[in-house]
Amino acid sequence: MEKPFLEHHLNINRRHFLGKLGLGVGGVALGSMLAPGIFKGTTDEAESVPLGFKHFASKAKRIIYLFQNGAPSQLESFDYKPTLNKMFGEDLPASVRGEQRLTGMTANQSKFPLVGSKFAFSQYGQSGTWVSELFPNIAKITDDICVIKTMHTEAINHDPALTFMQTGAQVGNRPSMGAWLSYGLGSENKNLPAFCVLLSRGRGNGQGVYSKLWTNGFLDSIHQGVQFSSGEDPILYLNNPEGMDMGSRKKMLDQLEALNEMGYQEFGDPEIHAKIQQYEMAYRMQTAVPEITDISKEPDHIIKMYGPDCLVPGTYAANCLLARKLSESGVRFIQLYHQGWDQHGNLVGEMPLQAQDVDRASAALVTDLKQRGLLDETLVIWGGEFGRTNYCQGKLSDGNYGRDHHPRCYSLWMAGGGVKAGISYGETDEFGYNIIKDPVHVHDLHATILHLMGLNHEQLTFKHLGRRFRLTDVHGKLVNGILA
């Protein structure tokens, strides 16, 4: 695998420097030169060296991506289609369906009975954004968010669609968005990883997630997403074993450093100093991470805002609160996944439960960032991997229905980070099946997200096996209409 142009030259430069400086520099300063771009500090301006540069000035510095895994229905959330209620049970006109390929789950259905939302819609805020009754809290922040109703994708199954949303390709071992941003911009905090991943599970029909979604792909593994867990160790292997407190650990690391320094005297290999530095960072993480993940010190009004679930580790609400704290501490990209949005059947039963789990905390996160003055520099994204069909999967009954996967349109919202607030972008037809105005392809979304972070999606490249790879492959158009 190729080291990219920059890192390659940096490497030469670094080693050359060591030669020129006679290797007399102390461990810390040396380490930061050896391993630039890894866990860089917020406090010391000088330490955030090479990778942390934007292509151009921009507002957003960090991203919190609230991934709704399984694909929530746009028709019960943000894309209001009363026609479907009027045409209840009627067959989807062939002219509307066109050439759309169907999943194996509904391909053999003889009829495609249209079904409208069981849940009422109203307009909210000055923007008059349509939101269903399932999301009363998100309804209150409509003037802070931008709803894109015209997302569309190519995949019709979860695995490829999810992989596409996260890595820009349906198959293949490409780096995920968070890894690209870590690579492009580095970290703002030297004690925390640049890319953190938080998982939670809802009560609806679920689809798994997989570590490929936060992979570094062909990028250096420092860009790999670090999964946080709600268990005893917030990060794998963070806690010292029993019988070893931080004092004894520090002492051990001092011995270790002395031993490694002896090794350096023997071999003269700069990698040994890099190793010393990684141990120091590990030690700092051991202090910093538990502080961050401890939400017991959050004031009552914050707890109230996110809801009581936020005190239960591993819930979506707790992860939202944790995401705010991580983001506040300078973590570049925080990826949440909430499972359970795959309502092929019993949508009427499951979707309210799913919405209940995420509505309050999602809205609280935006409000919380706003009240801290951080929303401008933090981009919040909420959405799934594709949409759901306007017709019922399986048998349509009066009281209940299910919806199959639909790639041609779905809704997603963003807030902060240089996105226009209080708008709905794009339009779908009255059936909620096709886009009639302003489509936003997944590649376009990626291009726009990178742009909001100050990166040109055509210039953020990495040469691997002979090709300059991009998050947006060879596609992607900036969605100018949503830029503030």
Partner: protein, 819 residues
């Protein structure tokens, strides 16, 4: 200095000055000096206001120029234009990287009908100007290529401004001289069959052990380097033990080798290591990456599969030292060879290791095509070192692989009687076609399969249907967009697929691959074996021998090795021995400042590389040195300690693999290569240490150094348990504490400690002894880590203190480094 410059720039950027990426690169001294003042001027005029320009220029004057003087030493920057410009080594890399996207092999993307990848195309009259030519040999000023790359006019300059690419002054000079010298085109180096080079003559002939050394020493002498002294026996022993077995040398072997002063001692050692059954395991680890082997199906719900008998075969094959041509033929076509056996059929599992979906609702044909695609891509990368996958949707942009070639190769793998989806989760552990491994097999031909229970065991294998499917070009790679029908063939630029020599099936394909005139197969393999030993291939991009790949650092050596390998019956053990016996390999890895300065990446091999052990070997070393290792070979993959919730937090809640059910007893101490790989959630420690996630064929791992790796060594119960067990064992031995510490040190670092280290460790031991004496309950907690039964001992305080010292030694940089 550097840091200050960047700091200042960041502040200026915050103040709203339009500092861009290029300026920063320049200011960091990353800008190749060969570009001179031009980039500064060009960047400067991008700044709108005069005051900004002034400010920027001042900064450049004050900060950049001094940095530049100490900064980047680009090899190009100081390089002279060679007397004879070589197309393959100097010109094609430029044309390929900067021009071929629009003027290369891909006809659909070609602009202005101009192609520069063939001499014919480059010398033809331009489409719209009959009297003008892209290249006029001997006359750069009449050559449009030269005029365009040097044009000042942004609407004419090539590559276009919008591509973000440009040519350096050095590259332009090269092109100019190449045209002046007649613009000779040559086929891409890797597509020309290797020619036996003459062994070079060298000055320091006394350094030479075998042929390899002539080539490396010649290069060193050319660039003014001389080889490092020979490595100490201790370091060499550890290095070669890990390279051949993936395990540290036992104390007995250390003793034996170090006390043997005969000149043959090293060769005897190598021969002994090569007969160890662990050799097959070590060699297999890389092959499992190539073959994307895993224990689960890989998509979404990610159910169990039983491919491990195939993995056992790989280990067996390396241990039996099957010649590479046979090893490869069996895996590609073991079901088609005339003298096929149950074993040769099992070997074909190679092509069934790809991921298989179990997601309800997928379109069957879409995924069936996906599997055939995976096989085709793997074939290209694993055996030919080419990026075939680039030609799936369109003609390859750089290499002579058309989309037609792609689907003609695809045709070989398109006749398996298989389905895109057999069923949802747990429907099958081995989708058809498969073979059952019977008791009779286990007694006879498949005795190397380590089956442990009486349950039915099935493995996926290859088979061709009776009635062949037609294979079509798939427009833009879409499974349902069938284009023209294609026949069995391979890219002609590599070697013509002559159907009078090669059957129209996978067996023919295997014969094509191992044919003497195939320019790639042998080179690609010897390069990867070299890579696994030296940490870097002679061609660094071991998965890309195409135009965009890196050029070999020692092309003649690569050819010599490739031909020697074929001439000696594709004998892998012989090749490995040849490499590790060479003086090139046995050099010391000590670095001095000058060496770093002259050859930071060690391209010229004037020293040995210090390399961190691979993911599996980190584990193996910890287990072996502590005495915990269970040396059993093969069998179903095992589930050692793993932090709670790793599988559970990401599962869909379906199937046998939703919860991680940890194994106990001996299964906790198996080698890293036997750790169960659930593809959607591979073992986290392995990923942290850069192991492949087995999603697709990988031929080269990264080697990184991160804080998460430090956390693993500090807190993983595997390492702590190993420290405890070794401590308990030593505490019960009747030797003084100094000797106990020394013994542990020798086991872990594979060398004796020096005085300074001894003093430090004994002092540390005494301090820890004191701490644990004051807090005995801490000691009690500390020594309970891991399931391995504790030894009855009186003195838990001592065990804890020694355990702490041993754990510290495990964390030393050198412990998990080959040096």
């Amino acid at each position: 200095m550097l840091i200050k410059v960047v700091g200042v720039l960041k502040i200026l950027q915050k103040l709203g000055m339009n500092i861009n990426w290029e300026m920063i690169k320049l200011t960091q001294g990353l800008w190749p000096r060969r570009r001179g003042i031009e980039p500064i001027r060009r960047l400067c005029i991008q700044l709108k206001s005069i005051s900004e320009r002034y400010l920027y220029l001042c900064m450049v004057m004050v900060l950049v120029i001094p940095v530049g003087m100490t900064g980047c030493q680009s090899s190009e920057g100081t390089a002279k234009i060679p007397d004879k410009v070589d197309f393959n080594f100097h010109i094609r890399p430029i044309l390929s990287d900067r021009c071929f996207t629009c003027h290369g092999p891909d006809a659909s993307q070609r602009k202005e009908d101009l192609r520069l990848d063939t001499r014919e195309g480059a010398l033809a009259a331009l489409k719209d100007y009959e009297d003008r030519y892209a290249i006029v040999p001997h006359n750069p000023e009449a050559s449009e290529v030269f005029l365009r790359v040097t044009s000042e006019d942004t609407s004419l300059v090539m590559p276009p401004v919008s591509s973000n690419m440009k040519l350096s002054e050095y590259e332009i000079k090269l092109i100019k001289k190449w045209i002046e010298q007649g613009a000779e085109f040559k086929p891409h180096w890797s597509l020309v069959p290797p020619q036996m080079p003459t062994i070079p003559t060298v000055d320091e002939a006394s350094w030479i052990t075998n042929e390899i050394d002539y080539f490396t020493l010649k290069k060193m002498e050319e660039v003014g380097l001389s080889p490092n002294p020979k490595a100490d026996k201790v370091h060499l022993l550890k290095r070669v033990s890990f390279d051949l077995l993936g395990l540290p040398p036992t104390l007995e072997i250390q003793q034996k080798f170090l006390s043997d002063d005969s000149p043959e001692a090293y060769e005897k050692l190598i021969d002994e290591l090569l007969t160890s059954q662990h050799y097959g395991e070590k060699m297999a680890i890389h092959w499992l990456d190539v073959a994307r082997y895993a224990d689960s199906h890989g998509y979404q719900d990610d159910g169990l599969r039983t491919m491990w008998p195939w993995r056992d075969w790989v280990i067996h094959a390396f241990n039996q030292n099957y010649p590479y041509d046979q090893f490869l033929t069996w895996q590609l076509a073991g079901d088609l060879i005339p003298d096929k056996t149950r074993e040769t059929i099992l070997a074909t599992g190679f092509n069934r290791n790809h991921k298989i979906t179990q997601e309800g609702g997928v379109i069957d044909e879409e995924y069936r095509i996906e599997y055939v695609t995976d096989r085709t891509n793997t074939f290209g990368k694993a055996f030919l070192g080419l990026t075939f996958e680039c030609a799936k949707c369109h003609d390859h942009k750089y290499d002579p692989i058309s989309q037609r070639d792609y689907y003609s190769t695809f045709a070989f793998f398109n006749h398996v009687p298989e389905k895109g989806i057999v069923g949802t989760i747990d429907a099958s552990f081995a989708d058809p076609p498969n073979m059952e491994i019977t008791d009779e097999d286990l007694e006879k031909v498949l005795s190397f399969v380590n089956k442990k229970d009486t349950a039915t065991l099935e493995v996926m294998v290859m088979k061709d249907s009776m009635g062949l499917r037609d294979t079509h070009i798939l427009t833009r790679g879409n499974y349902d967009a069938k284009g023209e029908k294609v026949a069995f063939a391979t890219p002609e630029a590599i070697l013509e697929y002559d159907t009078t020599r090669f059957e129209k099936n996978r067996l023919g394909l295997a014969k094509w691959l191992i044919s003497r005139d195939n320019p790639l197969t042998s080179r690609v393999l010897v390069n990867r074996i070299w890579q696994e030993i030296f940490g870097r291939g002679i061609v660094k991009t071991s998965g890309d021998f195409g135009m965009q790949g890196e050029l070999p650092t020692h092309p003649e050596l690569l050819d010599w090795l490739a031909l020697d390998f074929m001439n000696n019956g594709w004998d892998m053990k012989r090749l490995v021995k040849l490499i590790v016996m060479s003086s090139t390999y046995t050099q010391s890895s000590k670095l001095d400042k000058k060496a770093i300065e002259k050859d930071p990446e060690n391209l010229y091999l004037a020293r040995s590389n210090r390399i961190r052990l691979g993911a599996e070997m980190v584990r193996d070393h910890v287990l072996a040195s502590s005495g915990l290792l269970n040396p059993e070979i093969g069998g179903p993959s095992v589930k050692p300690y793993q932090p709670e919730g790793v599988w559970e937090s990401s599962t869909s809640g379906r199937g046998l693999l939703q919860t991680y059910i940890q194994d106990h007893g001996g299964d906790l101490y198996r080698r890293g290569m036997y750790t169960f790989i659930k593809r959607t959630v591979p073992p986290p420690v392995m990923l942290m240490y850069d192991a492949s996630n087995r999603d697709q064929c990988e031929v080269r791992r990264l080697n990184t150094n991160t804080p998460l790796q430090a956390l693993v060594m500090l807190n993983d119960p595997t390492v702590l348990e190993a420290s405890r067990v070794l401590s308990e064992k030593l505490i019960t031995e009747h030797i003084p504490i100094e000797e106990k510490i020394e013994k542990a040190f020798q086991l872990i670092l594979c060398r004796a400690s020096v005085e300074e280290e001894k003093t430090l460790l004994i002092n540390y031991y005494n301090e820890e002894l004191q701490r644990f004496s004051q807090h005995p309950q801490e000691a009690n907690k500390f020594i309970t880590i891991g399931e391995f039964p504790a030894k009855e001992t009186e003195d838990k305080i001592q065990v804890a203190a020694l355990m702490q010292v041993i754990h510290t030694v495990y964390n030393m940089e050198e412990a998990i480094t080959k040096s």
